[in-house]
Every structure is written in structure tokens, then in C-alpha cells.
């Protein structure tokens, strides 16, 4: 074979290979061939979960380094991170372990931290934060499930008897109650039906009330009257309160009577006199007392009147002369 041709082919082949390497180098985003030497930071956790050397360290989602190792130190688990040199980590940046996917791979997530905070230097310690992973969430779901189960058990025991079993269950009690009182219940229901029938057919007061339009009108009228009465009553009370006000202020007869001490004394005197008078009347003292209590005056008066009667009868028989005589007799 021609040597030149051979050289051309080898040259082309070689260029093809180099070009391919270059194309792949450009196409793949991660262009670092050798690991850049960075600085290390340490974050302590109570549990580093599945985090292992080589896992990514991301700040706000951007890859800034890798986990170089995990180790136990005292009662904590420490993660040693290697951060690329050009990225500065703020001292108040918080590290947490986050899940990269459902397959269980994790990465270490750093927050940006505040602007004014200092930057951590080589060997600096990061603040860490516990995050709940799938296991914690599942454990919580499990405990919720337990609670629901307990609740359902309580409910089912209180409703026990749905399937006929369980003494003391709500349904069995209801069942028993209905069984024992079935006669009463049916009687009650019968009565209720009779009552509702009557109401429906317009019998009785309620029935008429429900069915008769007139009853409504009467009711409205009654209410109207009650209203009027109430307004009058209110007027009356107004008047009464006026009167009371007048009395209170001492005006008028009643006011004077209640609030004037002179009147009170006079009344007292009067009643005393009256009592004395009635006592005298009772005790046969004085003319009136005797008139009331002594029968002799009455008997005398009676005989006088009888005598007069007889005299008048005699006069009637004598005519006018007698009348003159009587008159004279009376005068003399």
C-alpha cells in the first residue's frame, strides 16, 4: 500500500478520535478532569443517614463540592465536606441532608446564609439542621394509622351489635329498647296518626287552626286587640307614673295627704276623736249612745206613736171640728 495513503488514513483516524474526545468534552457539562483541590468544612449531625463519601454538596441547589468522608465524633456524626475553592460559604449557612431522589441517594444541602456574615475558612464548622426523611414521614403515617385504628375500634365497640353481637353496644341497647316497648311505641304511633288525621281533616282546635282560614283571621284580630290593649296599658302606666310624680312632688290631695305632716296629725286627731265618739256611743253615754243602746226610748217612742195613731183615727171620725179640737188640744 502507498505510504502516503497510509499516513492520510492514520491521520484522519487520529483526528477523528481527538475530535470525538473534544466533542464529548464540550457536550458533557462537567468539565473537570482532575478534582480541584478545595477547602474542607465540617458539619455535625445526629444522623447522617445514607450520606457517604462522594455525595454532592449543593448550595441553593448548585453543586459546590463533595462529601469527602463521614465519621463519628463523640455523640455526633460528622460530615467532612470538600468545597471548591472559588465558592465562599457564609458562617450562618445551615447544612441539612436532603434526598436527591426516591431511590434513596442523598446530598448535603447548604443554605446561602446572610450577606453580612463572615465566610468560613478551611476546617470551619457549619451549623446543621435535622430534616425528616422518608422513614420519619412513614413513621408518622404509621402512628396516625394506629390512632385511626384505635378510634375505629372505639366506634365499632360503641356501635357493637350491628352484626348482632356485643352486649351493651349502642345498637343492641336500641334493639332491646325497641323490643321491650314495641307495644307502647306502636300505640304512640297509632295515637300520633289519629291526631294527625284529625288535624288533617280539620277536627279539633289545632285542626281548625290549621285548616280554617277564619281562625287565622280571628287570631290576627285577637293579636290586634291585645296590641291595642297593650298600648292602652302603656298609656295607663304613663298616666299613673305622671300621677305618682305629682304625688311625689306633694301636689294635689293625695300628695298633701302623704307628704304633709300637719294633715297626718290632723287625721290622727280625727281618728282619735272618732274612736272616743264610738266608744261613747257603745258605752250608753250621751244622747246618741242612749239612743243606740237603750231600748226604752224605742219602746216609749213606739207607744207614743201608737197613741198618736189612735188619736188620729178618732179625729178622722169627728171631721173638721175634731180637727180644730185636736189642734187646740195639741196647742194647749
Amino acid at each position: 500500500m502507498n505510504t502516503t495513503m497510509q499516513s492520510v488514513r492514520v491521520g484522519l483516524f487520529f483526528i477523528l478520535g481527538v475530535a470525538l474526545i473534544w466533542v464529548i468534552f464540550e457536550a458533557l457539562g462537567n468539565k473537570s478532569i482532575f478534582k480541584e483541590p478545595g477547602y474542607t468544612l465540617v458539619a455535625a449531625f445526629t444522623d447522617v443517614k445514607d450520606l457517604k463519601a462522594g455525595d454532592e454538596v449543593r448550595m441553593a441547589g448548585v453543586k459546590i463540592g463533595a462529601v469527602s468522608s463521614t465519621r463519628l465524633k463523640g455523640r455526633t456524626a460528622e460530615v467532612v465536606l470538600e468545597i471548591v475553592p472559588h465558592v465562599k460559604v457564609a458562617s450562618d449557612s445551615v447544612a441539612s441532608i436532603a434526598m436527591a431522589g426516591l431511590l434513596g441517594n442523598h446530598y448535603l444541602s447548604l443554605t446561602l446564609g446572610s450577606e453580612e456574615a463572615d465566610f468560613l475558612s478551611d476546617g470551619g464548622r457549619l451549623q446543621s439542621q435535622k430534616t425528616s426523611d422518608l422513614n420519619d414521614v412513614l413513621a408518622q403515617i404509621g402512628s396516625i394509622g394506629d390512632k385511626i385504628e384505635t378510634m375505629m375500634e372505639d366506634l365499632s365497640s360503641s356501635l357493637g351489635g350491628i352484626s348482632g353481637g356485643g352486649e351493651g353496644g349502642l345498637f343492641s341497647k336500641l334493639d332491646k329498647l325497641v323490643d321491650e316497648n314495641s307495644e307502647n311505641l306502636s300505640q304512640t304511633i297509632e295515637n300520633l296518626r289519629t291526631i294527625t288525621d284529625k288535624i288533617a281533616t280539620g277536627e279539633g282546635t289545632i285542626g281548625k287552626l290549621v285548616n280554617d282560614g277564619g281562625a287565622y283571621d280571628d287570631l290576627v284580630a285577637a293579636v290586634q286587640e291585645i296590641k291595642t290593649a297593650a298600648s292602652q296599658a302603656s298609656k295607663l302606666t304613663d298616666d299613673a307614673s305622671d300621677i305618682f310624680a305629682q304625688i311625689k312632688s306633694g301636689n294635689g290631695a293625695l300628695g298633701t295627704l302623704i307628704y304633709d305632716d300637719d294633715i297626718a296629725q290632723q287625721i290622727q286627731l280625727t281618728t282619735t276623736n272618732l274612736r272616743e265618739l264610738s266608744e261613747k256611743l257603745n258605752s250608753n253615754q250621751g244622747t246618741l249612745g242612749k239612743l243606740i243602746n237603750d231600748d226604752s226610748l224605742y219602746l216609749e217612742a213606739k207607744s207614743v206613736i201608737g197613741k198618736a195613731n189612735r188619736t188620729l183615727d178618732g179625729l178622722g171620725d169627728q171631721g173638721p171640728i175634731s180637727a180644730v179640737g185636736v189642734a187646740a188640744q195639741a196647742l194647749f
Binding site: 505510504t3 483516524f13 487520529f14 477523528l16 481527538v18 470525538l20 474526545i21 464529548i24
Partner: protein, 250 residues
């Protein structure tokens, strides 16, 4: 004991051969045509078989991964699996095995027959060190061609996987998603590690082939034995080195 001595002797011989060969590095401009010729034989003529093999390796990888992952609904990871497997492991190893079988055996056969038919002795008589004109161009050629073969193998393997991922009904991942997944998972470091591995494998294969060829003693029958030995040793060494180189590069 004798076996161990022989193994150690072979290792020592190989290292001495390598050191001597690189001692003549200054002579390369004068034997440029030899280097080109070896590049042609080692690289260019191996390209078709590397392409075919890589394509089907990638395809089978995608098929197996897709079949295994369909139970999890994780077909979108095929790109990542095929991409990383080809770049980090299968690409370099398969190319190295092909080189051992196709090129290594040819070199051993050629050098063994030259040795058996005393051509190597004739060169020595003419004060031409066989390491300079027989070994050095081949070693340089494999160093130049191995990355090229590997990267071509990788790309063709990825493409084979993409074809399978798209056109096999039960996988049904389109090529965009496949390459997205591949790009997301494969870093250039993975490719680079693969190329470093391929370089180490290729270099060892050629060095062993040259050494065994030049150490052949006896008649034509020994040529066959040497070829068999060269291929077997190369294959074992590729797989043993694979572990250590991978571990070193992680």
C-alpha cells in the same frame, strides 16, 4: 518454584524491554514511517471490528438494562447505565481484548517468526537493536491509537444503546431522553478514566506480545505456542489490571 521463577523472569524481561525501547525514543523522527505503519495496522484496521463489537455491546447493555428496569418503571436510567458502563468499563476492556486478540496475536506471531527464523539475530548483528525498530514504533502506535479506538467504541456503543432504547417496544425511551439521562450522569472524568484504562491495557498488551514474541525459542511450533501464550496472558492481565486501575482512578 520453577513456575514462580519463570513468571518473575517474564515480568523482569518485559520491564527491561520497555525501558530499552523508550531509551530509543530519540530515533522516532527517523522511523516515522514505521510509526505510521503501526498506527495504521493497530488503529485503522481494528476500527471496523471495534465499531461492530461496540455497537452490539451497547445494544445488549440497553436491552438487558431496559428489561431489568422495566419492572421498576426506571427505563429513563438506561442512558445513564449504558453511558457509564461503556465509558468506564466496557469500552476500554472490550477494545483492549480486541487489540489483544487481533493485534497482540499478530505482533507475537510476526516477532516470534522473525526470532525463530533468526531475523532478529541478523538485526543484532547489524547493530540494529530490535527494540528500536520492532518494539518502540508499536508501543508508540498503541499509545496514540488506543484512546481513539476507545472513544469511537464508546460513542458507537452509546448510539447502539440509543437505537435499542428507542425501537424496542418494551423500553420505548426516545433518543432525547436517553441522551439527556446519559449527559446528566456521565462526567468527562468518566470518559477520561476510561481512556486512561484503555491506554494502560493497550500498552501492556503490546508490550507482552512483543516480549513473548522476541523470547520465542525453537522452531515454527513455538510460534503458535507463543501466540497462544501472549493472548492468554494479555487477557488475564487486562482483567487483573482492570480492577487495580479502576480502584486507583476512583
Amino acid at each position: 518454584m520453577k513456575q514462580i521463577t519463570r513468571a518473575l523472569e517474564a515480568i523482569g524481561d518485559t520491564i527491561i524491554l520497555m525501558v530499552r525501547s523508550f531509551g530509543y525514543l530519540g530515533s522516532i523522527p527517523r522511523q516515522w514511517h514505521r510509526l505510521i505503519e503501526q498506527c495504521y495496522l493497530i488503529g485503522y484496521t481494528t476500527f471496523p471490528i471495534v465499531s461492530i463489537l461496540s455497537f452490539f455491546i451497547g445494544s445488549v447493555l440497553a436491552l438487558q438494562t431496559g428489561y431489568s428496569l422495566q419492572g421498576f418503571g426506571a427505563e429513563s436510567f438506561i442512558g445513564a447505565v449504558v453511558g457509564l458502563s461503556m465509558a468506564r468499563e466496557l469500552g476500554p476492556v472490550m477494545v483492549a481484548i480486541l487489540v489483544a486478540g487481533r493485534v497482540g496475536s499478530a505482533i507475537t506471531a510476526e516477532l516470534a517468526s522473525m526470532k525463530v527464523y533468526q531475523e532478529v539475530d541478523a538485526l543484532k548483528t547489524m547493530n540494529i537493536p530490535p527494540e528500536r525498530i520492532l518494539v518502540l514504533p508499536r508501543l508508540l502506535a498503541i499509545l496514540i491509537m488506543m484512546p481513539v479506538l476507545t472513544i469511537i467504541g464508546n460513542v458507537i456503543g452509546w448510539f447502539g444503546g440509543a437505537v435499542i432504547a428507542q425501537y424496542v417496544p418494551f423500553i420505548g425511551t426516545d433518543m432525547d431522553a436517553y441522551f439527556q439521562s446519559l449527559r446528566a450522569s456521565v462526567a468527562f472524568k468518566d470518559i477520561f478514566d476510561g481512556l486512561v484504562k484503555a491506554e494502560v491495557f493497550g500498552f501492556c498488551v503490546i508490550l507482552i506480545a512483543c516480549n513473548i514474541g522476541l523470547k520465542t525459542k525453537g522452531g515454527p511450533r513455538e510460534i503458535g505456542h507463543s501466540v497462544t501464550r501472549a493472548v492468554v496472558v494479555s487477557l488475564i492481565l487486562i482483567l487483573v489490571l482492570d480492577y487495580f486501575v479502576t480502584k486507583a482512578l476512583l
